[in-house]
């Protein structure tokens, strides 16, 4: 591919819409990108896959103009460019859809759509009036092209995530983006919504929008992309048209030779189900700002089983979890842990009674990222022996405990004193498990345990959960990854609209059945 030759004749059709050649980027001692070359043709959907820390995010930051490469070239429309900043990249038509949406929660969708580029009735200096009709018309026009229903007058904070994502995408298009970079766009979506997103992206491809699609999920890549590029350890290790490859090949390149994946069928619980460990009866919470109320949730988790709680995000799962672990007050109903009524106990007492909690929000709730690995893994045990001796912390015992806990789950870390943020996503999550399992709880409430974790990490975390269950522990597993629930759970409860709308034994469940329950029993609206 010769970019210079193409650039010399401006009228010729471009062969590379967005690309990078021999790109290198180093952060301190870490070589995040090493000799990366990737070329995306116009109107192509190009998937980039790779484990966490493989260098995908660094490349995305460089292609958006946020970071400058140490060496190598960036190519836009066959020309070499040097981004002066994110604004420059955007001027050239490169738009990024982040995992966390960049919408102002208190503005309406329409206001968000035009924010920063408002159509004006006429320009009279700073007092120009915004032409809301024109704004609405442009929003409707873009939505109409893609057959998505949008209530433009809603506040974006109260809007389902797939609609937010949609608005985010068409906002970029409206402002002239012709190359979209999507960072794990399906992570927050239900199966049906994923399909909607894909048809939107395909439609955009027909309108000659170029798409760079970052994902962990190979099935989606196979379903959507034209071409796939695999990153490993900062390098491109594989690239192929999707039509010429298959999942196993791609996965092999992602994981390298060390990858091993346990097959779901082999992992089911063997013994009989024991006593009831967790019971929620008619759990109800009031509607509060930014939360979904619960409408009488009934749920049981027995000894030695993993109960998977499936549902489209925002249907009350996170609220239920918070009620169970004691971070949210219930207005009605009761919670029992191994027969003890814990409805009104603070979360500290619940932990004493044998409840562990792996938060969905690893960065803010699961860990104190700025604190040391040691502090994170012993946190919660500071008042118990052997760390606490006669009211003082035994620092040697604390170090020992921390080391043992981390080793038990093979957490890879530099030194105990390093900040938890220095660990990779998967190791951070293992650290959380190491802490929660250390107190030998009866029940683990686990929410989105593998979000943002690479394949190897996912396998390890799944193994941890299975081992815990096989040792007689109980798990309530809340996940938006239906595959994960199907793979791990012995029993599946489906939540929609603040209620449990159905339960299935694992043997009788499949994606279609559970997905239908999730979506047909009420949407995300109240």
């Amino acid at each position: 591919m010769n970019a210079h030759a193409a650039a010399s004749s401006a009228s010729a059709p471009v062969s590379v819409c967005l690309g990078a050649e021999r790109l290198c980027k180093r952060y301190g001692a870490v070589q995040a990108n090493s000799d990366i070359s990737i070329f995306i043709a116009p109107g192509e959907i190009h998937a980039v896959v790779g484990e966490n820390g493989a260098g995908k995010s660094t490349l995305m930051r460089i292609l958006q103009g946020i970071e400058q490469p140490d060496s190598g070239r960036i190519i836009v429309d066959d020309r070499d460019v040097r981004f002066s900043g994110p604004g420059h990249a955007f001027e050239l038509g490169i738009g990024m859809v982040h995992q966390e949406f960049m919408l102002a929660p208190d503005l309406t969708l329409l206001e968000n759509l035009v924010l920063g580029d408002e159509p004006l009735v006429r320009r009279i200096g700073p007092v120009s009036r915004i032409d809301w009709e024109a704004a609405l018309a442009s929003g409707r026009e873009l939505a109409g092209r893609t057959a998505v229903e949008v209530d433009w007058s809603r506040r974006s904070g109260g809007t389902p995530v797939h609609i937010q994502q949609f608005v985010e995408i068409i906002r970029l298009l409206r402002r002239g983006a012709r190359i979209l970079i999507l960072d794990e766009p399906t992570a927050v979506l239900a199966p049906q919504q994923v399909e909607d997103l894909f048809s939107l992206l395909r439609k955009l491809r027909e309108d000659s929008t170029t798409i760079l699609f970052v994902s962990h999920k190979l099935k989606e890549v196979m379903a959507l992309a034209d071409r796939v590029t695999v990153f490993r350890r900062g390098e491109v290790c594989y690239s192929s048209p999707v039509a010429d490859t298959d999942i196993d090949t791609i996965a092999g390149h992602m994981i390298g030779e060390a990858g091993d994946r346990t097959h779901p069928a082999s992992s089911r619980r063997k013994g009989a189900v024991g006593e009831i460990v967790l019971e929620a009866r008619r759990l109800t919470t009031p509607a509060l700002e930014k939360s979904h109320p619960l409408h009488g949730v009934d749920l049981q988790v027995n000894e030695g089983e993993i109960v998977g709680l499936a549902g489209v995000s925002g249907n009350g799962q996170s609220e239920l979890v918070e009620c169970l672990v004691g971070l949210r007050a219930v207005s009605d109903g009761a919670i029992f842990l191994a027969g003890d009524d814990i409805t009104n106990l603070p979360n500290r007492d619940r932990r004493e009674l044998g409840m562990g909690y792996v938060s969905a929000n690893r960065r803010d709730e699961g860990l104190a990222l700025a604190a040391s690995v040691e502090a994170n893994v012993v946190a919660g045990s500071q008042r118990k022996a052997p760390i606490n001796r006669h009211g003082l912390l035994d620092l040697a015992a604390m170090r020992r405990q921390a080391g043992q806990r981390l080793d038990l789950l093979a957490v890879r870390y530099g030194a105990l004193g390093d900040a938890a943020s220095s660990l990779s996503g998967g190791n951070q999550q293992r650290l959380v498990f190491a802490r929660e399992i250390a107190s030998d709880p009866k029940l683990l409430v686990v929410s989105q345990p593998t979000r943002g974790v690479d394949l190897k990490g996912i396998a390890a975390i799944h193994a941890i959960l299975r081992r815990f269950r096989d040792d007689g522990g109980s798990v309530l597993l809340v996940s938006e990854e239906l595959d994960e629930i199907l793979e791990l759970a012995d029993r599946i409860a489906v939540m929609a609209n603040g209620r449990i709308v159905g339960q299935l034994q694992a043997e009788e469940a499949d994606v279609a059945k559970v997905g239908r329950m999730m979506l047909t029993q009420g949407g995300t609206d109240d």
């Binding site: 301190g28 971070l327 929000n361 860990l367 990222l369 946190a379 912390l393 030194a415 900040a419």
Partner: protein, 354 residues
Amino acid sequence: MTEIAAARRFDAIAWFDKGIGLAFPFVVALAVASAVLLAVGENPIDVFSLMAAESFGSTRRIAATLSAATPLLFTGVATAICFRSGVFNVGVEGAFVIGGLCGAFVGFSLPAGFGLALIPLAFAFAAIGSALWLSVPGYLLARYEVDEVVSTLMLNFVAFGITGYLVNGPLLSEISGNNVTPLVHEAAQLPRLLPPSTVHAGFLVGLVLVVAYGLWARRTPSGFEGALVGHNRRFSKAIGISIPATIVLVMVISGIVAGMGGASHALGQLHRFADGFSPGYGFTGMAVALLGRNTATGILLGAILFGALASAGTTVQLFSDIPLDIVNIIEGTVMIFAVVELGRLSLRRWRGAS
């Protein structure tokens, strides 16, 4: 993994960086002061060596520096306890004067016959008074999420008002034309450590508290919990730490320490309470805590640094034409860059995390 190896190699750099970080504000301050001195036609090297001699040049000068550092040990610790738990208590100043008044009150109002028992009584009364004082904004923050910066700042003015009223009215010394209480009894006065220098036993009390603070922070469950709460409240709550209890606890300890500082100043230094009791020890204590990164050693060094600036800054005027303003410039610059440095570090941490 390469990242882990990298993290280990960074360790040495991080330590080096930390050392620079501590000295950095001071170096900048000296540079700024040098520029000012050159501009007014003074030789900075002469001035700084005179200041060094006036702060540490002889036993007496060292004693004077330690004397000036004494209140800062207390206010530095009282501030650091809260800051490390993420509670931005700026009310140490108010708690210090409340403690000073309480301590002085016990020292002159109880019969002199109590003898040496007056000292522990005065410290206890001051500690209780200031602990109650700061427990109010602590409770308001813990229970109603009333912003502690606003509430403690406002309470400072209330403290100045109350003490100002009492020292101008009910507790006014009968023999004085100024706003001071009577002197505390002889027995209640803290002994001097290196007579005739004014450094008194309160300095030792301050040292003990700095050490106790270091132990508390590193070696007790509640100190551990405080640090976690400072790092991340949501996380701390999720692992079973009571945020309200931690907030109230650190505010109460902060009050106890600040109150004891006030008592030490009243019994050891002024031997009474007076208008102008604290020229802002609480606020300088914030700079000490920031500069010392909330560590016990850092607080000790920070207090001595500011103590040296205060004592030398005054007496150099006897032997040169350097105005107090130069010292104020150095102090102010150290404070600003202590805060800037803090911001720079947390920015880098934030970048590193994302």
